[in-house]
């Protein structure tokens, strides 16, 4: 990494890391009587580690000018590995909290092992750790290949990748210590939020600067999706996290919003996090890697553009469907419901576009587990978006809201769509990025595929059943007009499904572990064109003629 930096970049890196150390020390001192201090020391340690790495490599020769004739893929390689590591952390935490719901005693009276603290480690771990690293890693790859231009410099992609992971570590460790601002998917406190804004602005700047240097005049549609993801996430993140800290020495802050405005802002953020983090970004991934792997151009490029604008116009308005039957004005609920239903059009246009691209290449889908991951992702994307539009209808929502049906819906999207497209892209990227001839074991990719599919189906069916049962039990009245079931009755009814859900999650986690093993073994294979230590020489004859 340091060897890729020019002298000027090494100096800039030292200044940035020095600043990080100072910021960490300031937090550690100002927050010495607060949990903020712990994070301060962690940030200072991260900065110090980077600073020493930079000092040690400072005297290395500058990178040769020939590097400019190559794409810059080192951050993508590291990002792919971080994706898998966070996947295991996030999915492992997910499995654990699923088990906690079935067997609540497993908290063992330890505060940081409680459900409330571990659950955001799961959600942030999979969304931001796993999903975010996958998006950063693949976006750098797609951006360079479709603009035919190298990233503008070496330092900013590393700043984005490592800075983003620092944010993820601060977030996850904060949850375990009990730090949260209690906004779903936006739990990290004010100082982590400010840091993420800095990282995110640099990320968007990389995109703009590379596009400005592009050699290919047309901006391929995948880049539009990636840019929508970066830009909108920045807007959502800034607005929803507007807060006033108690003091500069305190981790605690209070939101600028209150009451129903707070709820609306939160779900405007929350739903668009699904729309632009978990949908637009991964659609960008799909629109590049699926045609590439199938060896066929996207079925309709024009349909992909219409879907893009459809999704960006409409998702923004859909968030209020999270607040049906609340203090939110009725017309705002109806607005969210209407936009959610219409959203089915661009969503199915994308899912259909992907499947129609595969039409004629089904033999490849059958033979190639990597392409099958992507095909399955498109199918689950279609299923989940249909389900989402359906659940946003007020009457349906009256049954599904606050039940496990919602959890089932989210995981059909997260496991079936987001993770499947990520694994498809990851498996097709790893051999080329690490300059290996092929993936270590195609059989293990097959195994992973079936583990992931089985895990997803077990999970989703368990939650659908559980959710509908829960919803019906909560609305069943007897002839005297009183509720037939107590809350505990519904909890008992859900217990078998909770065990099934934990099993589904475990299968999915085992699949991810298989992927990590396969990727590590791929990296350990000899590189293409590497010198063969045996040499391409005839074997020594065991016995000379005439001996």
């Amino acid at each position: 990494m340091v060897a890729d930096f020019t002298r000027d970049e090494r100096v800039s890196a030292l200044i940035v890391l020095g600043g990080l150390i100072l910021a960490g020390l300031f937090m550690a001192i100002a927050g010495r009587n607060d949990l903020l201090g712990v994070h301060g020391w962690m940030i200072a340690a991260a900065g110090l580690w980077g600073f020493f790495a930079m000092v040690r490599g400072f005297g290395l020769p500058e990178p040769p000018a020939t590097r400019l004739a190559e794409y810059y893929d080192a951050p993508t390689r590291v990002g792919l590995i971080l994706t898998l590591l966070w996947g295991i952390v996030g999915m492992g935490a997910g499995f654990w909290v699923a088990a906690l719901l079935a067997w609540p005693d497993m908290t063992f009276d330890v505060a940081w092992l409680s459900f409330g603290r571990l659950r955001p480690v799961h959600t942030s771990g999979v969304i931001f750790g796993f999903g975010g690293n996958a998006l950063i890693a693949t976006s750098f790859h797609v951006l360079q290949r479709t603009t035919r231009a190298r990233l503008p410099d070496a330092i900013s992609p590393w700043f984005v990748l490592l800075g983003y992971n620092l944010f993820c570590v601060i977030a996850a460790s904060g949850y375990l210590m009990g730090l949260t601002q209690s906004k779903e998917y936006a739990e990290p406190e004010w100082y982590a939020d400010i840091w993420l804004v800095v990282v995110w602005v640099v990320y968007f700047a990389i995109y703009m600067r590379t596009l400005a240097r592009r050699k290919e005049p047309h901006i391929y549609v995948a880049n539009w999706y990636y840019m929508a993801f970066i830009l909108v996430v920045a807007i959502l993140h800034i607005v929803n996290n507007l807060a006033v800290p108690v003091s500069f020495g305190s981790a605690k802050s209070y939101s600028l919003f209150a009451g129903v405005q707070d709820a609306m802002t939160q779900w405007w953020y929350g739903h668009n996090a699904v729309a632009f983090f978990l949908t637009a970004g991964f659609l960008g991934m799909m629109y590049y890697y699926l045609p590439k792997r199938a060896g066929r151009p996207i079925f309709s490029y024009r349909m992909s553009i219409v879907s893009f604008w459809g999704i960006t116009f409409m998702y923004m308005w859909a968030g209020s469907h999270h607040l049906h039957y609340t203090a939110l004005p009725h017309w705002v609920q109806t607005l969210g419901m209407a936009f959610s239903v219409v959203l089915l059009v661009p969503s199915w246009a994308s899912a259909g576009n992907a499947l129609l691209t595969l039409n004629g290449a089904w033999h490849k889908v059958r033979d190639d587990a990597v392409l099958r991951f992507m095909a399955l992702a498109a199918i689950f994307y279609g299923i989940t978006t249909f389900e989402g539009s359906f659940m946003a209808i007020r009457a349906v929502n009256s049954l599904s809201h606050y039940t496990d049906w919602t959890i089932g819906h989210v995981h059909a999207g997260a496991l079936g769509w987001v993770a499947m497209i990520t694994f498809g892209a990851l498996y097709s990227l790893v051999p080329t990025m690490f300059k290996r001839e092929r993936i270590y074991s195609q059989k293990l990719v097959e195994l992973h595929f079936w583990l992931a599919l089985t895990g997803t189906l077990v999970y989703v069916f368990a939650m659908w059943n559980s959710g509908v049962i829960q919803g019906l039990m909560w609305r069943t009245y007897d002839e005297t007009g009183t509720l037939s079931y107590s809350f505990i009755d519904s909890l008992v009814a859900m217990h078998p499904y909770y065990i099934a859900r934990a099993l589904g999650g475990l299968l999915f986690l085992l699949g991810t572990l298989t992927a990590l093993y396969n990727v590590i073994m791929t990296i350990r294979m000899p590189a293409i064109g590497a010198h063969d230590p045996q040499g391409d020489l005839p074997a020594e004859p065991a016995l000379q003629a005439g001996e």
Binding site: L68, E70, T146, R148, R150, K292, P297, V306
Partner: protein, 57 residues
């Protein structure tokens, strides 16, 4: 004009409606404009082109 609930609702229901309709019309017209067809078809081939994996100069 007071910045209250009624004003915001009025704005959203009038300007918001025409704004989204206009954006949709512009987007559809641009996408399906006959002269743009060829360029889009070329662009669609971008991921599947087999060529050297390095930046253009």
């Amino acid at each position: 004009m007071p910045f209250d609930h009624e004003t915001i609702v009025g704005f959203a229901k009038s300007f918001g409606l025409f704004y989204l309709v206009a954006l949709s019309v512009i987007c559809l017209a641009w996408t399906y404009w006959p002269t743009n067809k060829k360029g889009f078809e070329e662009a669609a081939k971008m991921p599947v082109l087999e060529e050297e994996d390095r930046p253009w100069h």
